[in-house]
Protein backbone atom coordinates (compact mmCIF):
# COMPACT_ATOMS: atom_id res chain seq x y z
CA UNK A 1 0.00 0.00 0.00
CA UNK A 2 2.81 2.38 0.94
CA UNK A 3 4.62 1.74 -2.32
CA UNK A 4 1.39 2.18 -4.24
CA UNK A 5 0.83 5.63 -2.73
CA UNK A 6 4.42 6.70 -3.35
CA UNK A 7 4.42 5.45 -6.91
CA UNK A 8 1.00 6.99 -7.54
CA UNK A 9 2.35 10.37 -6.40
CA UNK A 10 5.37 10.02 -8.71
CA UNK A 11 3.14 8.90 -11.58
CA UNK A 12 0.79 11.83 -10.99
CA UNK A 13 3.65 14.31 -11.04
CA UNK A 14 5.05 12.81 -14.24
CA UNK A 15 1.69 12.90 -16.00
CA UNK A 16 0.96 16.44 -14.83
CA UNK A 17 4.41 17.72 -15.81
CA UNK A 18 4.40 16.05 -19.22
CA UNK A 19 0.81 17.17 -19.81
CA UNK A 20 1.66 20.79 -19.06
CA UNK A 21 4.66 20.61 -21.37
CA UNK A 22 2.66 19.21 -24.26
CA UNK A 23 -0.27 21.54 -23.54
CA UNK A 24 2.09 24.52 -23.63
CA UNK A 25 3.26 23.77 -27.16
CA UNK A 26 -0.02 22.56 -28.66
CA UNK A 27 -0.51 25.65 -30.85
CA UNK A 28 3.09 26.06 -31.84
CA UNK A 29 4.17 24.90 -35.23
CA UNK A 30 7.39 23.02 -34.70
CA UNK A 31 10.41 23.78 -36.81
CA UNK A 32 14.04 23.16 -35.89
CA UNK A 33 14.38 26.61 -34.31
CA UNK A 34 11.24 26.15 -32.23
CA UNK A 35 12.19 22.63 -31.28
CA UNK A 36 15.80 23.26 -30.30
CA UNK A 37 15.89 26.87 -29.07
CA UNK A 38 12.23 27.65 -28.48
CA UNK A 39 12.07 30.03 -31.42
CA UNK A 40 14.75 32.13 -29.68
CA UNK A 41 12.00 33.91 -27.85
CA UNK A 42 12.26 32.95 -24.20
CA UNK A 43 12.27 35.81 -21.70
CA UNK A 44 14.43 36.09 -18.61
CA UNK A 45 11.85 34.56 -16.26
CA UNK A 46 11.17 31.61 -18.54
CA UNK A 47 14.89 31.06 -18.97
CA UNK A 48 15.35 31.20 -15.22
CA UNK A 49 12.79 28.44 -14.89
CA UNK A 50 14.47 26.45 -17.61
CA UNK A 51 17.83 26.84 -15.95
CA UNK A 52 16.32 25.73 -12.67
CA UNK A 53 15.62 22.46 -14.43
CA UNK A 54 19.33 22.17 -15.19
CA UNK A 55 20.46 23.26 -11.73
CA UNK A 56 18.17 21.13 -9.58
CA UNK A 57 19.10 17.69 -10.72
CA UNK A 58 19.85 14.47 -8.92
CA UNK A 59 23.19 16.03 -8.02
CA UNK A 60 21.46 18.74 -6.02
CA UNK A 61 19.72 16.26 -3.76
CA UNK A 62 22.12 13.35 -3.77
CA UNK A 63 25.52 14.79 -4.73
CA UNK A 64 25.45 18.11 -2.89
CA UNK A 65 23.87 16.69 0.24
CA UNK A 66 26.19 13.68 0.05
CA UNK A 67 29.27 15.89 -0.16
CA UNK A 68 28.11 18.00 2.76
CA UNK A 69 27.57 14.81 4.76
CA UNK A 70 30.84 13.14 3.86
CA UNK A 71 33.28 16.04 3.39
CA UNK A 72 31.95 19.13 5.16
CA UNK A 73 33.45 22.48 4.10
CA UNK A 74 34.72 21.40 0.64
CA UNK A 75 31.06 21.10 -0.34
CA UNK A 76 30.82 24.88 -0.07
CA UNK A 77 32.17 25.04 -3.61
CA UNK A 78 28.73 23.94 -4.79
CA UNK A 79 27.20 27.27 -3.82
CA UNK A 80 30.11 29.26 -5.23
CA UNK A 81 30.68 27.98 -8.73
CA UNK A 82 27.18 28.70 -9.95
CA UNK A 83 27.52 32.29 -8.81
CA UNK A 84 30.91 32.61 -10.49
CA UNK A 85 29.42 31.22 -13.71
CA UNK A 86 26.67 33.84 -13.53
CA UNK A 87 29.20 36.64 -13.27
CA UNK A 88 31.21 35.35 -16.22
CA UNK A 89 28.19 34.71 -18.38
CA UNK A 90 26.99 38.27 -17.75
CA UNK A 91 29.71 39.43 -20.11
CA UNK A 92 30.04 36.38 -22.31
CA UNK A 93 26.41 35.64 -22.99
CA UNK A 94 25.32 38.71 -24.98
CA UNK A 95 28.25 38.26 -27.37
CA UNK A 96 27.38 34.63 -28.02
CA UNK A 97 23.75 35.53 -28.43
CA UNK A 98 24.55 38.15 -31.04
CA UNK A 99 26.60 35.66 -33.01
CA UNK A 100 23.94 32.96 -32.64
CA UNK A 101 21.22 35.34 -33.72
CA UNK A 102 23.07 36.59 -36.77
CA UNK A 103 24.01 33.15 -37.97
CA UNK A 104 20.76 31.54 -36.86
CA UNK A 105 22.66 29.00 -34.81
CA UNK A 106 20.88 26.23 -32.99
CA UNK A 107 23.51 24.24 -31.14
CA UNK A 108 26.88 24.64 -29.46
CA UNK A 109 28.50 22.82 -32.36
CA UNK A 110 26.98 25.32 -34.81
CA UNK A 111 28.56 28.14 -32.86
CA UNK A 112 32.06 26.74 -32.95
CA UNK A 113 31.76 25.75 -36.60
CA UNK A 114 30.74 29.27 -37.59
CA UNK A 115 32.88 31.22 -35.17
CA UNK A 116 36.07 29.45 -36.20
CA UNK A 117 34.99 28.72 -39.77
CA UNK A 118 35.64 25.05 -39.22
CA UNK A 119 32.95 22.41 -39.76
CA UNK A 120 35.44 19.90 -38.44
CA UNK A 121 35.67 21.73 -35.14
CA UNK A 122 31.89 21.89 -35.03
CA UNK A 123 31.68 18.14 -35.55
CA UNK A 124 34.28 17.59 -32.85
CA UNK A 125 32.36 19.77 -30.41
CA UNK A 126 29.17 17.86 -31.19
CA UNK A 127 30.94 14.55 -30.66
CA UNK A 128 32.53 15.64 -27.39
CA UNK A 129 29.18 17.01 -26.26
CA UNK A 130 27.40 13.73 -26.90
CA UNK A 131 30.15 11.60 -25.37
CA UNK A 132 30.38 13.67 -22.22
CA UNK A 133 26.63 13.92 -21.84
CA UNK A 134 26.44 10.15 -21.46
CA UNK A 135 27.86 10.06 -17.90
CA UNK A 136 25.73 13.08 -17.01
CA UNK A 137 22.57 11.36 -18.20
CA UNK A 138 23.72 8.17 -16.47
CA UNK A 139 23.96 10.16 -13.24
CA UNK A 140 20.41 11.45 -13.67
CA UNK A 141 19.09 7.99 -14.47
CA UNK A 142 20.86 6.63 -11.42
CA UNK A 143 19.04 9.23 -9.38
CA UNK A 144 15.73 8.15 -10.89
CA UNK A 145 16.64 4.54 -10.21
CA UNK A 146 17.27 5.27 -6.55
CA UNK A 147 14.08 7.30 -6.28
CA UNK A 148 11.91 4.60 -7.81
CA UNK A 149 13.57 1.88 -5.78
CA UNK A 150 12.85 3.76 -2.57
CA UNK A 151 9.32 4.66 -3.64
CA UNK A 152 8.66 1.05 -4.63
CA UNK A 153 10.12 -0.22 -1.36
CA UNK A 154 12.60 -2.36 -3.29
CA UNK A 155 9.95 -4.12 -5.35
CA UNK A 156 10.75 -2.33 -8.61
CA UNK A 157 13.44 -3.68 -10.88
CA UNK A 158 16.05 -0.89 -11.11
CA UNK A 159 17.05 -1.60 -14.72
CA UNK A 160 13.43 -1.61 -15.81
CA UNK A 161 12.82 1.61 -13.90
CA UNK A 162 15.79 3.33 -15.53
CA UNK A 163 14.77 2.10 -18.98
CA UNK A 164 11.22 3.27 -18.45
CA UNK A 165 12.37 6.66 -17.23
CA UNK A 166 14.71 7.07 -20.20
CA UNK A 167 11.93 6.13 -22.63
CA UNK A 168 9.57 8.64 -21.05
CA UNK A 169 12.14 11.42 -21.19
CA UNK A 170 12.93 10.76 -24.85
CA UNK A 171 9.24 10.60 -25.79
CA UNK A 172 8.50 13.83 -23.95
CA UNK A 173 11.40 15.72 -25.51
CA UNK A 174 10.53 14.50 -29.00
CA UNK A 175 6.91 15.51 -28.54
CA UNK A 176 7.40 18.95 -27.05
CA UNK A 177 10.92 20.21 -27.72
CA UNK A 178 12.62 22.84 -25.62
CA UNK A 179 9.54 24.93 -25.02
CA UNK A 180 7.75 21.92 -23.60
CA UNK A 181 10.67 21.31 -21.27
CA UNK A 182 10.46 24.91 -20.11
CA UNK A 183 6.76 24.56 -19.36
CA UNK A 184 7.37 21.29 -17.55
CA UNK A 185 10.07 23.03 -15.53
CA UNK A 186 7.40 25.24 -13.98
CA UNK A 187 5.82 22.30 -12.21
CA UNK A 188 9.00 20.41 -11.58
CA UNK A 189 10.89 23.38 -10.18
CA UNK A 190 8.07 24.40 -7.90
CA UNK A 191 8.11 20.89 -6.46
CA UNK A 192 11.89 20.81 -6.26
CA UNK A 193 12.09 24.19 -4.57
CA UNK A 194 9.46 23.05 -2.09
CA UNK A 195 11.47 19.92 -1.39
CA UNK A 196 14.70 21.90 -1.02
CA UNK A 197 13.06 24.31 1.41
CA UNK A 198 11.62 21.42 3.36
CA UNK A 199 14.87 19.47 3.48
CA UNK A 200 17.05 22.49 4.13
CA UNK A 201 14.93 24.33 6.68
CA UNK A 202 12.29 22.08 8.17
CA UNK A 203 14.51 19.07 8.81
CA UNK A 204 17.27 21.01 10.64
CA UNK A 205 14.68 22.92 12.67
CA UNK A 206 12.73 19.77 13.47
CA UNK A 207 15.70 17.71 14.59
CA UNK A 208 18.24 20.29 15.78
CA UNK A 209 16.15 23.31 16.71
CA UNK A 210 17.73 25.61 14.10
CA UNK A 211 20.37 25.65 11.38
CA UNK A 212 22.77 26.81 14.10
CA UNK A 213 21.97 23.60 15.93
CA UNK A 214 23.10 21.61 12.92
CA UNK A 215 26.41 23.47 12.83
CA UNK A 216 26.95 22.98 16.57
CA UNK A 217 26.26 19.28 16.27
CA UNK A 218 28.58 18.91 13.29
CA UNK A 219 31.37 20.77 15.09
CA UNK A 220 30.86 18.58 18.14
CA UNK A 221 31.46 15.46 16.10
CA UNK A 222 33.97 16.89 13.60
CA UNK A 223 35.70 20.02 14.99
CA UNK A 224 37.47 20.76 11.68
CA UNK A 225 34.52 20.02 9.46
CA UNK A 226 33.58 23.66 8.82
CA UNK A 227 36.88 24.96 7.51
CA UNK A 228 39.08 23.94 4.63
CA UNK A 229 42.40 22.34 5.29
CA UNK A 230 45.20 24.67 4.31
CA UNK A 231 47.39 24.88 1.25
CA UNK A 232 47.59 22.24 -1.38
CA UNK A 233 46.27 19.33 0.69
CA UNK A 234 43.42 17.28 -0.68
CA UNK A 235 40.31 19.43 -0.58
CA UNK A 236 42.38 22.32 0.73
CA UNK A 237 42.05 26.02 -0.04
CA UNK A 238 43.92 25.79 -3.33
CA UNK A 239 41.69 22.93 -4.41
CA UNK A 240 38.66 25.00 -3.42
CA UNK A 241 39.67 28.05 -5.43
CA UNK A 242 40.70 26.06 -8.51
CA UNK A 243 37.53 23.95 -8.38
CA UNK A 244 35.29 26.99 -8.11
CA UNK A 245 37.05 28.60 -11.08
CA UNK A 246 37.09 25.45 -13.20
CA UNK A 247 33.51 24.46 -12.47
CA UNK A 248 32.39 28.04 -12.93
CA UNK A 249 34.02 28.15 -16.34
CA UNK A 250 32.48 24.81 -17.23
CA UNK A 251 29.10 26.04 -16.18
CA UNK A 252 29.29 28.89 -18.63
CA UNK A 253 28.42 26.42 -21.33
CA UNK A 254 25.14 25.75 -19.58
CA UNK A 255 24.43 29.34 -18.70
CA UNK A 256 25.63 30.80 -21.96
CA UNK A 257 24.90 28.19 -24.58
CA UNK A 258 22.16 25.98 -23.24
CA UNK A 259 20.52 28.60 -21.12
CA UNK A 260 20.63 31.95 -22.65
CA UNK A 261 22.47 32.76 -25.79
CA UNK A 262 20.71 30.49 -28.18
CA UNK A 263 17.29 30.68 -26.67
CA UNK A 264 16.66 34.09 -25.26
CA UNK A 265 14.65 36.67 -27.09
CA UNK A 266 15.87 39.81 -28.73
CA UNK A 267 16.24 42.82 -26.53
CA UNK A 268 18.33 45.87 -26.91
CA UNK A 269 21.99 45.54 -26.22
CA UNK A 270 21.79 41.97 -24.94
CA UNK A 271 19.78 43.12 -21.93
CA UNK A 272 17.76 39.91 -21.80
CA UNK A 273 20.95 37.91 -21.57
CA UNK A 274 22.33 40.12 -18.83
CA UNK A 275 19.07 39.88 -16.91
CA UNK A 276 19.25 36.16 -17.28
CA UNK A 277 22.78 36.07 -15.89
CA UNK A 278 21.83 38.36 -13.04
CA UNK A 279 18.94 36.32 -11.75
CA UNK A 280 20.59 32.96 -12.35
CA UNK A 281 22.63 33.32 -9.18
CA UNK A 282 19.44 32.96 -7.17
CA UNK A 283 19.67 29.23 -7.73
CA UNK A 284 22.85 29.13 -5.68
CA UNK A 285 20.89 30.21 -2.62
CA UNK A 286 18.57 27.23 -2.92
CA UNK A 287 21.58 24.97 -3.27
CA UNK A 288 22.81 26.27 0.04
CA UNK A 289 19.80 24.62 1.67
CA UNK A 290 20.91 21.30 0.25
CA UNK A 291 24.13 21.75 2.16
CA UNK A 292 22.15 22.09 5.38
CA UNK A 293 20.10 19.09 4.39
CA UNK A 294 23.26 17.03 3.95
CA UNK A 295 24.74 18.28 7.19
CA UNK A 296 21.52 17.50 9.05
CA UNK A 297 21.81 13.93 7.85
Amino acid sequence: MKSFVALAVIGGVIVETAGLGIFGVRKIKMDPAQFIVGGRSLGAIFLWLLMAGEVYTSFTFLGAAGWAYSKGAPAFYIICYLTVACILSFFYLPAIWRCAHRHDLLTNADYFAVKYQSPLLGALVALVGVVFLVPYITLQLTGIQILLQIAGYGRIDSVLAAGLAFGLIVAFVLASGLRGAAWASMVKDALVLGAVLFAGIVLPVQFFGSPKGVIDQVLLVHPNWMTLVGGTSNFGTVWFVSTVLLTGLWWIHVAAFDGGSLRSKERRGGQAQRDHSSILSNHAVARLLCWFHGSAD
Binding site: T83, I87, S278
Partner: protein
Protein backbone atom coordinates in the same frame (compact mmCIF):
# COMPACT_ATOMS: atom_id res chain seq x y z
CA UNK B 1 23.14 62.69 -54.67
CA UNK B 2 23.27 62.24 -51.01
CA UNK B 3 23.39 65.21 -48.73
CA UNK B 4 26.42 66.34 -46.84
CA UNK B 5 25.18 65.01 -43.54
CA UNK B 6 24.50 61.55 -44.89
CA UNK B 7 27.48 61.59 -47.12
CA UNK B 8 29.90 60.32 -44.58
CA UNK B 9 27.63 57.58 -43.34
CA UNK B 10 26.71 56.44 -46.80
CA UNK B 11 30.27 56.59 -48.00
CA UNK B 12 31.53 54.49 -45.20
CA UNK B 13 28.53 52.25 -45.42
CA UNK B 14 29.02 51.56 -49.07
CA UNK B 15 32.72 51.05 -48.73
CA UNK B 16 32.16 48.74 -45.79
CA UNK B 17 29.39 46.85 -47.50
CA UNK B 18 31.47 45.94 -50.47
CA UNK B 19 34.47 45.33 -48.37
CA UNK B 20 32.48 43.00 -46.22
CA UNK B 21 31.23 41.15 -49.23
CA UNK B 22 34.75 40.88 -50.46
CA UNK B 23 35.88 39.76 -47.06
CA UNK B 24 33.24 37.13 -46.71
CA UNK B 25 35.45 34.38 -47.92
CA UNK B 26 38.86 35.84 -47.42
CA UNK B 27 41.10 34.65 -44.68
CA UNK B 28 42.01 38.07 -43.45
CA UNK B 29 42.11 41.65 -44.50
CA UNK B 30 43.65 44.98 -43.99
CA UNK B 31 42.35 48.41 -44.75
CA UNK B 32 43.60 50.86 -47.27
CA UNK B 33 42.77 54.44 -47.98
CA UNK B 34 42.08 55.45 -51.53
CA UNK B 35 43.98 52.73 -53.22
CA UNK B 36 42.59 49.61 -54.72
CA UNK B 37 44.82 46.66 -54.51
CA UNK B 38 44.80 43.04 -53.68
CA UNK B 39 47.34 40.86 -52.02
CA UNK B 40 46.04 37.34 -51.94
CA UNK B 41 44.45 36.06 -49.82
CA UNK B 42 43.82 39.52 -48.46
CA UNK B 43 41.42 41.93 -50.03
CA UNK B 44 41.93 45.51 -49.14
CA UNK B 45 39.34 47.92 -47.98
CA UNK B 46 38.39 50.97 -49.97
CA UNK B 47 37.47 53.60 -47.48
CA UNK B 48 38.14 56.99 -48.99
CA UNK B 49 36.32 59.04 -46.41
CA UNK B 50 37.36 57.37 -43.24
CA UNK B 51 39.38 60.42 -42.42
CA UNK B 52 37.53 62.95 -44.47
CA UNK B 53 40.60 63.31 -46.60
CA UNK B 54 40.21 65.82 -49.39
CA UNK B 55 42.63 63.95 -51.54
CA UNK B 56 40.57 60.84 -51.74
CA UNK B 57 37.35 60.47 -53.72
CA UNK B 58 34.32 60.95 -51.53
CA UNK B 59 31.53 61.90 -53.91
CA UNK B 60 28.88 59.33 -54.79
CA UNK B 61 30.02 59.11 -58.39
CA UNK B 62 33.48 58.28 -57.30
CA UNK B 63 32.04 55.84 -54.91
CA UNK B 64 30.24 54.07 -57.72
CA UNK B 65 33.56 53.62 -59.40
CA UNK B 66 35.06 52.33 -56.25
CA UNK B 67 32.22 49.93 -55.80
CA UNK B 68 32.52 48.67 -59.32
CA UNK B 69 36.22 48.19 -58.93
CA UNK B 70 35.69 46.50 -55.62
CA UNK B 71 33.22 44.17 -57.24
CA UNK B 72 35.95 42.85 -59.42
CA UNK B 73 37.67 41.61 -56.33
CA UNK B 74 34.61 39.80 -55.13
CA UNK B 75 34.51 36.09 -55.90
CA UNK B 76 32.03 35.01 -58.53
CA UNK B 77 29.53 33.55 -56.11
CA UNK B 78 29.46 36.85 -54.27
CA UNK B 79 28.95 38.97 -57.32
CA UNK B 80 25.43 37.74 -57.71
CA UNK B 81 24.52 39.34 -54.38
CA UNK B 82 26.30 42.61 -55.06
CA UNK B 83 24.36 45.59 -56.37
CA UNK B 84 26.01 47.17 -59.37
CA UNK B 85 26.27 50.92 -59.80
CA UNK B 86 28.31 53.10 -62.10
CA UNK B 87 30.63 51.96 -64.80
CA UNK B 88 33.97 50.32 -64.65
CA UNK B 89 36.84 52.70 -64.90
CA UNK B 90 40.53 52.39 -64.66
CA UNK B 91 42.44 52.83 -61.46
CA UNK B 92 43.76 56.15 -62.71
CA UNK B 93 41.00 58.07 -60.97
CA UNK B 94 42.70 57.39 -57.68
CA UNK B 95 44.93 60.20 -56.52
CA UNK B 96 48.50 59.22 -56.42
CA UNK B 97 49.06 60.66 -53.00
CA UNK B 98 46.56 58.34 -51.35
CA UNK B 99 48.51 55.92 -49.32
CA UNK B 100 47.77 52.36 -48.40
CA UNK B 101 47.73 51.65 -44.72
CA UNK B 102 46.65 48.73 -42.63
CA UNK B 103 44.30 48.54 -39.64
CA UNK B 104 47.02 49.61 -37.27
CA UNK B 105 47.75 52.62 -39.40
CA UNK B 106 44.10 53.56 -39.45
CA UNK B 107 43.93 53.09 -35.72
CA UNK B 108 46.92 55.34 -35.27
CA UNK B 109 45.50 58.01 -37.52
CA UNK B 110 42.15 57.89 -35.76
CA UNK B 111 43.89 58.19 -32.42
CA UNK B 112 46.01 61.06 -33.67
CA UNK B 113 43.01 62.98 -34.96
CA UNK B 114 40.93 62.18 -31.91
CA UNK B 115 38.12 60.89 -34.09
CA UNK B 116 36.03 57.96 -33.08
CA UNK B 117 34.10 55.68 -35.36
CA UNK B 118 30.95 54.15 -34.07
CA UNK B 119 28.62 51.51 -35.46
CA UNK B 120 25.00 50.83 -34.79
CA UNK B 121 24.15 47.19 -34.56
CA UNK B 122 21.37 45.36 -36.28
CA UNK B 123 18.78 46.22 -33.69
CA UNK B 124 19.43 49.87 -34.18
CA UNK B 125 21.14 50.54 -30.93
CA UNK B 126 24.47 52.17 -30.70
CA UNK B 127 26.40 49.39 -29.15
CA UNK B 128 30.07 49.69 -29.75
CA UNK B 129 32.59 52.33 -30.47
CA UNK B 130 35.42 51.39 -32.72
CA UNK B 131 38.67 53.04 -33.33
CA UNK B 132 39.59 50.36 -35.77
CA UNK B 133 37.72 50.02 -39.07
CA UNK B 134 39.13 46.54 -39.28
CA UNK B 135 37.33 45.48 -36.17
CA UNK B 136 34.29 47.38 -37.29
CA UNK B 137 34.15 45.59 -40.61
CA UNK B 138 34.40 42.24 -38.89
CA UNK B 139 31.44 43.12 -36.73
CA UNK B 140 29.43 44.04 -39.77
CA UNK B 141 30.18 40.91 -41.69
CA UNK B 142 26.79 39.36 -41.48
CA UNK B 143 23.95 41.82 -41.37
CA UNK B 144 24.35 42.74 -45.04
CA UNK B 145 20.91 41.57 -45.93
CA UNK B 146 19.19 43.40 -43.11
CA UNK B 147 17.91 46.92 -42.92
CA UNK B 148 20.49 49.40 -44.08
CA UNK B 149 19.57 51.83 -41.32
CA UNK B 150 20.57 49.26 -38.79
CA UNK B 151 24.15 49.25 -39.88
CA UNK B 152 25.49 52.70 -39.86
CA UNK B 153 28.97 53.86 -39.24
CA UNK B 154 29.67 57.38 -38.30
CA UNK B 155 32.11 59.63 -36.63
CA UNK B 156 30.86 60.31 -33.15
CA UNK B 157 31.51 64.03 -33.26
CA UNK B 158 29.26 64.30 -36.34
CA UNK B 159 26.33 63.45 -34.12
CA UNK B 160 27.42 65.44 -31.15
CA UNK B 161 28.63 62.41 -29.27
CA UNK B 162 31.79 62.12 -27.30
CA UNK B 163 33.77 59.03 -26.47
CA UNK B 164 32.60 59.42 -22.90
CA UNK B 165 28.99 59.06 -24.03
CA UNK B 166 29.72 55.66 -25.52
CA UNK B 167 29.40 52.32 -23.87
CA UNK B 168 33.03 51.59 -23.28
CA UNK B 169 33.11 53.54 -20.10
CA UNK B 170 30.01 51.80 -18.76
CA UNK B 171 31.42 48.46 -19.86
CA UNK B 172 34.51 49.09 -17.83
CA UNK B 173 32.41 50.22 -14.89
CA UNK B 174 30.22 47.12 -15.02
CA UNK B 175 33.31 44.97 -15.35
CA UNK B 176 34.76 46.53 -12.22
CA UNK B 177 31.50 46.10 -10.33
CA UNK B 178 31.22 42.43 -11.34
CA UNK B 179 34.87 41.79 -10.50
CA UNK B 180 34.21 42.47 -6.82
CA UNK B 181 32.00 39.41 -6.11
CA UNK B 182 34.03 37.34 -8.57
CA UNK B 183 37.24 37.93 -6.64
CA UNK B 184 35.45 37.61 -3.33
CA UNK B 185 34.18 34.15 -4.24
CA UNK B 186 37.32 32.85 -5.90
CA UNK B 187 40.25 34.41 -4.06
CA UNK B 188 38.40 35.45 -0.90
CA UNK B 189 38.07 31.96 0.63
CA UNK B 190 41.85 31.82 0.92
CA UNK B 191 41.63 34.56 3.52
CA UNK B 192 38.22 33.78 5.02
CA UNK B 193 38.97 30.16 5.85
CA UNK B 194 38.33 30.22 9.59
CA UNK B 195 35.69 29.22 12.07
CA UNK B 196 35.59 32.32 14.24
CA UNK B 197 33.95 34.75 14.55
CA UNK B 198 30.72 32.89 14.08
CA UNK B 199 27.97 34.95 12.50
CA UNK B 200 24.39 34.02 13.40
CA UNK B 201 25.83 30.75 14.59
CA UNK B 202 27.39 30.01 11.23
CA UNK B 203 31.12 29.47 10.85
CA UNK B 204 32.86 32.51 9.39
CA UNK B 205 33.74 30.81 6.09
CA UNK B 206 30.16 29.73 5.44
CA UNK B 207 28.75 33.10 6.49
CA UNK B 208 31.27 34.81 4.21
CA UNK B 209 30.27 32.69 1.23
CA UNK B 210 26.55 33.10 1.89
CA UNK B 211 27.00 36.86 2.12
CA UNK B 212 28.79 37.03 -1.19
CA UNK B 213 26.38 34.69 -2.96
CA UNK B 214 23.53 36.96 -1.87
CA UNK B 215 25.50 40.14 -2.54
CA UNK B 216 26.37 38.97 -6.05
CA UNK B 217 22.76 39.47 -7.05
CA UNK B 218 22.97 43.12 -5.97
CA UNK B 219 26.33 43.63 -7.66
CA UNK B 220 25.07 42.12 -10.91
CA UNK B 221 21.98 44.32 -10.82
CA UNK B 222 24.24 47.34 -10.44
CA UNK B 223 26.46 46.08 -13.29
CA UNK B 224 23.37 45.56 -15.43
CA UNK B 225 22.08 49.01 -14.56
CA UNK B 226 25.39 50.61 -15.44
CA UNK B 227 25.36 49.00 -18.88
CA UNK B 228 21.72 49.76 -19.57
CA UNK B 229 21.42 52.09 -22.56
CA UNK B 230 20.33 55.58 -21.71
Amino acid sequence: MIGPEKSLDSTIWNASTFTIQALAKSEGFCASVGRLSRSSPRIRLIAPSFFGSGDCPSEPDDLAVLEERTEQLIPTDHKAQSPSRGSPQSESFLPQDCQTIGPNGIRRRLSATGRYLKSTDYIGQASRRYRSPARMARKLLLPLSTNRNRNQLYFMEDRGETPESGEDRSSLASFCVAAIPFLALTIGPLFANRLEPRIFGLPFLLAYLIFWVLATRVFMLVASWVRRPR
